[in-house]
């Protein structure tokens, strides 16, 4: 699991110059119809990707988070499949990268309170993965059940029991078999695709905690 970071400009008067930060920026009152449109625009400027999933995490506002004074930030997270990530640098950011999420943080020291914002976003994602199909938004077009389970395991940072996982997923109408198999040095695996690339499926029960 990785998170997109952008490098802050190095100009002396910029707060947290040269630090890595979550991608973001100010609302453009003329171009942004609403907050979500602003988030989509900012993301597209960095990745050129139309995200299949975007969720508002919350809003942080206080006097300390930005040295320039009282400010608020509304945090969204997007889920982007690994095969759809062509990065673009430019704009106010001198560099862009994907950073691996370890636990619920990243090795780099982030600008502002972004470590806290990332932590909240990862926690939100994790808790929803317990009872939804959110990881499906991270899959390429066709994938095997084992691959989907692996993505669940990566986002949750723990292993899942294979039979229970498969029964659970196949009991919903999330997936659809495609008449192809993933070949390897072993028994080939059935390939699946999402029945609906927009819809989130909610499971009846959450996975067992811990």
């Amino acid at each position: 699991m990785q998170v997109l970071l952008v490098k802050r400009p190095s100009a002396r008067n910029e707060p947290f110059a040269d630090h890595w930060a979550l991608p973001g920026g100010f609302i453009d009152l003329d171009r942004d119809a609403d907050l979500e449109a602003c988030a989509i625009r900012k993301l597209k400027e960095k990745t050129n990707v139309a995200t299949p999933y975007l969720e508002q995490v919350g809003t942080w506002g206080n006097a300390e988070r930005d040295p320039r004074g009282w400010s608020t930030t509304t945090v969204y997270f997007a889920l982007i499949a690994a095969d759809a990530t062509a990065l673009l640098a430019g704009g106010n950011a001198t560099d862009v990268k994907w950073a691996t999420v370890e636990g619920n943080r990243v090795r780099d020291k982030l600008a502002f309170d972004h470590t806290e914002l990332l932590r909240a976003a990862v926690n939100r994602l994790r808790s929803k993965v317990e009872y939804t199909s959110l990881p499906a938004f991270l899959m390429p077009n066709e994938f095997t059940l084992t691959e989907l389970q692996r993505v669940y395991e990566i986002t949750l940072d723990r292993t899942l029991e294979k039979k229970a996982f498969r029964t659970r997923v196949l009991a919903t109408d999330l997936l659809e078999e495609v008449p192809r198999r993933r070949e390897g040095a072993n028994r080939p695996a059935q390939l699946f695709k999402l029945k609906n690339r927009k819809r989130t499926v909610f499971f009846a029960r959450a996975l067992q905690r811990e």
Copy 2:
């Protein structure tokens, strides 16, 4: 279930003059340490109550929601026990009242996009009531299991099965018996109090949907 409303001032230049609205206002950069402090302050101005539970629902921002132009509002909901509500009028609001929530709205036509904000808050509350002890924050100091169940039923707007409800609640360490009973024209009921008036208990499973 009721929601606190305040009446907008009647001055001609005020948007939505004389309409009922959710209580709120602008951040005071000098007095409000952060967004939550602002919410607590605004609530206290109207009810003079320190809320036992406050949760951020989300942030709405666009150019249309306020005729004065682009604006954002961060919505919080508080849960306040019915026995702790001494209302105060004053400030910018000429009147204050509790309005009954029917479905996920209120009979009055609300100012701005507050009907939508209320809908979102009620939906958030409902969905969390399915798997948490949030309604416990709406209870007076001592209460019976039947009374707690009734509050669950009111917030969820559906009946629950008595035995399942009691088993579920008593299986956690949410409650503590007190050596008193609620007397009536029938068998007296055991009284309980919360073991911890701050903590939210999360149940292993959500209640069955519908």
